[in-house]
Every structure is written in structure tokens, then in C-alpha cells.
């Protein structure tokens, strides 16, 4: 009797769990559905109350007009170049630096590791203005360099930390044996350590790719001319130029800008989840 009661209680709890999770999932996904729906609607249907969930007279004119109205092709190309160069830099430099932290010792290495962790707490606003003035002095404003160079100089404390943690779990005997066989320390890095942390590499790669694709603040500050804009800045600019009138075109272009991110996510979902889980590791 008691058991039966408990069982039915567990069943009810399970049903409630599903109901809440399904509602939460709808809340998360519905806006995307609405973006797709709106972007295929003609103007008069967009401003119709009550709204149609699915466009009655579907049209691609929002996409055609949107692409005509702004340089989205150019923005795409710019963003792809920046994201690619920044991501390659991030993966290479953060893994190399992590190799240094995890395998070699110097008097200052523990202090420097603490400093590395400390920089994660620093709000970017504190360094922002001198960085801008520095890049300005170097004549790099309105070029892609301020968006790429930081990635090649360490690629972010968090990524270094992630690689370091995983290199530390690999037994040192492996590289010592290789060193005895005459392998250089760089060869140990590329032939032994890197291949063993492929999942971490892929996690850093996809997260950096998406981060750079979505990044709004740095391109906003460093890029001034329209033909150098990234998708994020271009979208904001497009919104400003259209007011709130061309909702259909805005939704179409917003959707368009998300396609690369969604494709990367669809293919590499596993690595995103891994990367996020790793970021929550204690220590």
C-alpha cells in the first residue's frame, strides 16, 4: 500500500518534470520559430492581429531586399576571415602556452599561473581604453588586427587554463621517454600531447569560432568603415538605418547571420557540451 502510494507519487512527479521541461524548451525555441516565420511574411501579414503562425503568402522578398539594402555579403566575408584567423590563433597559442605551464618550471611559474587566473576576473573595460589608444598609435584602427592579435598572444586565460588542466592529467613518463629517444620538446608537444587532447582542442576551436562570429563589442570599437564591418556590427547598423519599420527584412537578415553558427553547432554539438562542462570543473 505504502509502496503503491510512493509509486504513483513518483509518476506524478515525473509527469510534472516533463511538463516543465517541455514548456522551458518551447520558450527557448519558439523565438527562433517566430524569427523564421516573420522573415518569410510579406509586410501586411507581419502587422496582422491576430498573427498567423505560419506565413499565408510566404515570400523571400525580405531576404532579397535585405541583402540588397546592406552589404551583408561583405560582412559575412569579413566575419569569416576574422573568426578564422582569431580561432586558429587561439587554438595554437593557448595550447602552446598551456604546454609551458603544465610541463616546465621556473621560479616564477606558480606566480605567473596565479596571475593568469587573476586576469579572468578583470573586467575588460579596465584595459579597453589603453588597448584602443595603443592600437591607434600603431595605426591599426579600422583594420582587422586589433581583433586578431590578442588571440595569437595567449588566446584568452580561460583556454590556457583548460588546456593546462588536461595536459596535467597526461602522464609525464610519455614525454620523458620520447625526450630520451631524442625528440625535441616541441616535437613532444605536437606528436604526443596535442593528439591526446583532441576533444579539448575541438571544444576550444568551436567555442572560439562562435565567440568571434557573435562578438559585437570589439568590432564596434575598432572598425569604422562600412565595408569592414562584421555581421554583428552590420546588423546593428542595418537596424539603425531601417528604424523599426522593416521588421521582415531585419528578421530575415538576423536569421541569415545565425546560419553559420547553427551549422557549426549542429555538426559539433558534442564538443560544445564538453567545453561547457569542462569550464565548470572545480579547481
Amino acid at each position: 500500500m505504502d509502496n503503491k502510494l510512493k509509486n504513483s507519487e513518483a509518476k506524478i512527479r515525473k509527469i510534472i518534470t516533463y511538463v516543465i521541461l517541455i514548456i522551458a524548451a518551447i520558450v527557448c525555441l519558439f523565438p527562433f520559430f517566430w524569427m523564421i516565420s516573420t522573415s518569410f511574411k510579406p509586410m501586411d501579414e507581419i502587422y496582422k492581429m491576430p498573427p498567423d503562425w505560419i506565413p499565408l503568402h510566404g515570400t523571400i522578398s525580405n531576404f532579397v531586399e535585405g541583402l540588397k539594402g546592406a552589404n551583408f555579403g561583405v560582412y559575412f566575408k569579413n566575419t569569416a576571415i576574422i573568426s578564422f584567423l582569431a580561432t586558429v590563433g587561439t587554438v595554437i597559442s593557448s595550447s602552446i602556452v598551456a604546454y609551458g605551464f603544465s610541463r616546465f618550471k621556473a621560479k616564477l611559474s606558480p606566480v605567473l599561473f596565479m596571475v593568469l587566473l587573476g586576469t579572468m576576473m578583470l573586467p575588460s573595460q579596465v584595459t579597453l581604453i589603453p588597448q584602443y589608444l595603443l592600437f591607434n598609435k600603431l595605426g591599426m584602427i579600422d583594420t582587422i588586427w586589433p581583433l586578431i592579435i590578442p588571440s595569437w598572444l595567449g588566446g584568452g586565460a580561460f583556454n590556457i587554463f583548460l588546456f593546462t588542466q588536461f595536459f596535467r592529467t597526461l602522464p609525464k613518463e610519455l614525454d620523458e621517454a620520447a625526450m630520451l629517444d631524442g625528440a625535441s620538446s616541441f616535437k613532444v608537444f605536437t606528436k604526443i600531447l596535442l593528439p591526446s587532447v583532441k576533444p579539448v582542442m575541438l571544444a576550444v576551436l568551436v567555442m572560439s569560432l562562435v565567440y568571434n562570429w557573435n562578438d559585437f563589442f570589439s568590432p564596434l570599437i575598432y572598425l569604422n568603415s562600412n565595408e569592414k564591418f562584421t555581421v554583428a556590427v552590420g546588423l546593428q547598423f542595418f537596424k539603425g538605418s531601417q528604424g523599426n519599420v522593416q521588421v521582415g527584412q531585419m528578421m530575415a537578415m538576423a536569421l541569415f547571420s545565425l546560419i553559420p553558427v547553427l551549422i557549426i553547432f549542429a555538426i559539433c554539438q558534442k564538443y560544445f557540451i564538453q567545453g561547457i562542462k569542462m569550464s565548470g570543473l572545480k579547481g
Binding site: R13, T17, L21, V27, C28, L29, P31, F32, M35, Y47, M49, P51, I96, V97, G100, F101, R103, F104, K105, L112, L116, T119, M121, L122, P123, Q125, V126, T127, L128, I129, P130, Q131, L133, L134, N136, P150, W152, L153, G154, S185, V210, N214, F217, I221, A232, L235, Q236, K239, V247, M250, M251, A254, L255, S257, L258, V261, F272, I276, K277, G280
Partner: protein
């Protein structure tokens, strides 16, 4: 023989040090040029009237005096930021824990749910912020239409000074997928044996949640809390794009004020001072959280 060994050890240590500096050099250079020097320089800039080109003179604490006495937006921006932090941080942690708790039950389709919660996070940026601007639109927005279906008159989300920040918080809460996944990993780390012995003692679901799951997830919650506080203080893109800091400056945040002063008005010195003020506030609140942690963060080992 012994001397030789010592010498060998010395050589190894020296080689190790050499390699350490060699391999960490990209970060070391980056740290000195893009972090350390900027910190020191921005500290100096705070006491100058430097403009966008980098020229300016020392003016003492005039920037501070201006901020406290004349700039009507200085306190407003900080107050708005605090308001955002006070709403977003607790809500995001509670929501993330709650959803992670549900996901950790023996349910089907965890992968689907995880993906659904994660997609808003990875797409978060200008595109989805613009999308939410349309969703919150007062006359044709879908939120107010749905509220109308249950006979609630939807507010003018983005045009009402009391609602605009709420809209920014809702949009931000929509993108907490990463927090959920981190929380879920934390919950799944808890050894099953704890629950088994609790079940033998007859503890029900809620008692298990409050006596086992919640205390053992506190290290993860603590980690999320600090990261979320630091990020929330820098909130910029959502209020800038959704409401442009309005209406009546009700979503005008500290980060927007820094951006406007530095890059729109070209007051780099003043913007540096704002950045340090923000840093100080973040530091104080983080320290309070760190101090408090020994009373509520529970380490299993």
C-alpha cells in the same frame, strides 16, 4: 660523482626554466602589452583629460569630482547596473539549478532538452537581441498577443521605464544554457551512494534535494555566482540594442556610459575613471561573496 649529479640537476632545472619562458612567451608578451601596461596606463588616464587621439593633461581628481557632482548619468548608470545584477544574478542561478535538477532525473530526451536550452546561449548576440525587440513590440509583439489570449493587457515592454529593464533581464535569462549545463555536470558529479542511503532512511525527493543535491552543488553554484556577477556588471549589448539605454535612461548601464564617454564623446580619461569605478564595485561585491563562501559552500572532500 655526487657533484656531477648536482650539476646535472642544475642543468635540467635551467633547461626547464628556459622552456617555460619560451612556451609561455606568447601569453607573457600579451599579458604585459595588452593587460599589465593597459591597467597601469588606465590608472594614470583616470587623472587626465585624455581624448580619443591619446592627448591630454593631468587634472588630478577632477574626473571624480565631475562624476560625483555634475554628471547626472554617473550614478544613474551604476544604479541601473546594480538593478540588473540584483535581478539577473539570483534568478539565473535559481533557474539554472532548477532546470538542471529536472534534467538530472531519470528522463528521456535529455539530449534534446540540453540542445534546446543551449541554442539561445550560442546564438546570443546582436541577431537574437533584435529578434527579442520584435517579440517585445507593444502592439504586434508575440508576447503581448499571448498575454492577451489570457486576458492580460501586455505592458509597453521597451517603452515603459519600469518595464524596459525587466525585458533586458528576461532576454538575458533566456541565454543561460551554459549555466544549466555546468550545474547539470555538478549535480551529476554527486555519488549515487548518497542518494541510495538516503532512500533507505526514507527520505523523499524534496528532502534529498535540499539535504544532498543542493549542498553538494554549492561549489558549482559558487563558481557560477562569481562568473555571473562579473559578467552581469558589464552588461552592454542587450540594453544598447534592445532599448538604446532608454526609455528615460532606464536601461542605461555603466558599460554603456563608459562606451559613450570614451568612444562617442572621446573622453578617454573620464571613461577610464568610470572603468575603475566599475572594477572597484565588482571587486567589493566579489570579495563579499568570497568571504561569505565559507559559510555556505560545502566541500565534500
Amino acid at each position: 660523482m655526487k657533484k656531477n649529479k648536482v650539476k646535472n640537476k642544475d642543468i635540467i632545472a635551467r633547461r626547464s626554466a628556459k622552456n617555460f619562458y619560451l612556451y609561455t612567451s606568447p601569453w607573457l608578451i600579451g599579458f604585459v602589452v595588452l593587460t599589465l601596461y593597459p591597467i597601469l596606463y588606465s590608472f594614470y588616464l583616470m587623472f587626465t583629460d585624455t581624448d580619443l587621439t591619446g592627448h591630454g593633461k593631468f587634472i588630478g581628481i577632477e574626473n571624480w569630482v565631475y562624476a560625483f557632482k555634475e554628471d547626472p548619468l554617473f550614478f544613474k548608470a551604476f544604479f541601473n547596473t546594480l538593478k540588473y545584477v540584483a535581478m539577473f544574478v539570483p534568478l539565473s542561478l535559481i533557474l539554472a539549478f532548477f532546470i538542471a535538477l529536472l534534467l538530472s532525473q531519470k528522463i528521456r530526451g535529455v539530449g534534446f532538452f540540453r540542445t534546446a536550452f543551449y541554442i539561445p546561449y550560442i546564438t546570443s548576440g546582436v541577431a537574437v537581441t533584435i529578434l527579442w525587440g520584435w517579440i517585445f513590440q507593444k502592439d504586434f509583439g508575440i508576447v503581448n498577443y499571448l498575454l492577451g489570449l489570457i486576458h492580460i493587457k501586455g505592458p509597453n515592454w521597451l517603452g515603459d521605464k519600469h518595464m524596459a529593464m525587466v525585458a533586458v533581464v528576461i532576454l538575458s535569462l533566456w541565454t543561460i544554457g551554459n549555466n544549466i549545463i555546468i550545474m547539470l555536470a555538478g549535480i551529476q558529479d554527486i555519488p549515487k551512494s548518497y542518494y541510495e542511503s538516503a532512500q533507505i532512511d526514507g527520505a523523499g525527493f524534496w528532502r534529498q534535494t535540499f539535504n544532498i543535491t543542493l549542498p553538494l552543488t554549492t561549489p558549482t553554484i559558487y563558481f557560477n555566482l562569481i562568473v555571473t556577477i562579473i559578467a552581469a556588471f558589464q552588461v552592454f549589448q542587450q540594453p544598447l540594442i534592445l532599448t538604446a539605454g532608454g526609455p528615460l535612461n532606464s536601461t542605461y548601464t555603466a558599460a554603456i556610459h563608459i562606451y559613450n564617454n570614451g568612444f562617442i564623446y572621446g573622453k578617454m580619461g573620464y571613461a577610464s575613471m568610470m572603468a575603475w569605478a566599475m572594477f572597484a564595485v565588482i571587486m567589493i561585491i566579489t570579495l563579499v561573496v568570497v568571504r561569505s563562501s565559507k559559510h555556505w559552500v560545502f566541500y565534500d572532500d
